[in-house]
């Protein structure tokens, strides 16, 4: 590598304000370009997905975690390691189904809405942080875990906390392993 090893370290961090404001500018631009909230939400999810499929590489490279053995370990990993690494917050995880494949991450502090006071009246059903859902979905898909990720509660819409629900769908390669 032509760069000296010391330089990589100082470049790893950026200011939280820049990130949050850039995200805000992006959402504002999307709202200007698309009239319907569903379109904006869908686009944010799609952008989040393409970010997620690349972010997972960075995550695995930096965190060197071992392979997760169960869905609950995966959910814990996302909450305690990934969120901490990329957003600086640690949501709490709770399992919300008997089968063990539905989890929710409860965020009391969401850095993405640091500068957002409330949603404007004409955008009442906008999921401001829908990018996060796409990111989680994309990242999980790249490690062969299909999941559906949605917002269950959103502080911007008046709920007490922000809650992201992750539902792991059945792994498609379960059947492929039966080879003889």
């Amino acid at each position: 590598m032509s760069r000296s090893p010391g330089r990589k370290q100082e470049n790893h961090k950026i200011s939280r304000e820049l990130f949050v404001l850039t995200y805000g500018a992006l959402v504002a631009q999307l709202c200007k370009d698309y009239e319907k909230d569903e379109d904006v939400n869908a686009y944010l999810d799609r952008m989040g997905y393409s970010i997620g499929i690349r972010l997972i590489d960075d995550f695995l490279a930096r965190s060197a975690v071992k392979k997760c053995r169960s869905y609950s370990e995966t959910a814990d990993m996302i909450a305690q390691v990934a969120f901490k690494m990329y957003l600086g917050v640690t949501p709490s995880v709770s399992c919300s189904s008997a089968m063990g494949n539905e989890f929710s991450l409860i965020l009391d502090k969401n850095p993405l809405v640091d500068f957002v006071e409330e949603l404007p009246a004409e955008r009442a059903s906008l999921c401001y942080c829908n990018l996060l859902c796409g990111v989680i979905r994309g990242a999980l898909e790249m490690v062969q875990l299909a999941a559906e990720v949605t917002f269950l509660q959103d502080r911007l819409k008046g709920d007490a906390v922000t809650e992201i629900g992750i539902t792991f769908l059945r792994k498609p390669e379960d059947r492929k392993h039966k080879r003889n």
């Binding site: 950026i14 404001l21 992006l26 970010i51 690494m85 006071e117």
Partner: protein
């Protein structure tokens, strides 16, 4: 009357401004920025328009960043001289937003109203590779828009653009 004014302040507005800023990873920002550029690229037809769009997004960021930064870095005193505000931009503002100060601030030889802030490796261009057919694209147009908003809001309306300068920006 707008219900916003009668309802009572939301908790976000009550928070103090001077809390310690935490830092996030560069990878997250770089990926977000790349999505932003891709989004703009899909909707424009030329490089100049793409730079204009990036500048507009940077404008949006700059307007909101200025107040918070001035309140934190220079409480009680606003810059009223051109050189003062440029030094503020090059130093504290650049450091707060991009993690390091702008490398150089120069005045143009022929026009004393033109200044250059020179940066060897702008943060926004960290993971950007420009294909040869778009070689005039400089994603630092985002930073240029940011700067334009900051200067405009500080009372110094200016036109800011990003240029390649002997291999740097």
């Amino acid at each position: 009357m707008d219900s916003r004014f009668t309802r009572g302040k939301s908790p976000v507005l009550e928070r103090a401004l001077g809390r310690p800023r935490s830092e996030l990873s560069l990878a997250a920002f770089a990926l977000l920025f790349s999505e932003l550029v891709q989004y703009c690229q899909r909707r424009v037809a030329s490089v100049a328009e793409l730079q204009a769009r990036l500048a507009r997004l940077g404008h949006h960021v700059g307007l909101r960043a200025l107040d918070a930064l001035v309140a934190r870095e220079r409480p009680g005193r606003r810059e009223t001289k051109v050189l003062g505000v440029l030094l503020f931009v090059k130093g504290p503002l650049w450091r707060a937003l991009f993690g390091r100060e702008g490398d150089k601030l120069e005045q143009a030889n022929d026009d004393d109203r033109t200044f250059y802030v020179i940066e060897r490796e702008p943060l926004v261009n960290t993971f950007v590779s420009v294909p040869r057919e778009n070689s005039s694209l400089n994603c630092a147009a985002f930073a240029a828009g940011l700067l334009e908003a900051v200067l405009g809001a500080a009372g110094f309306p200016a036109r800011v653009s990003a240029h390649w300068h002997k291999g740097t920006t």
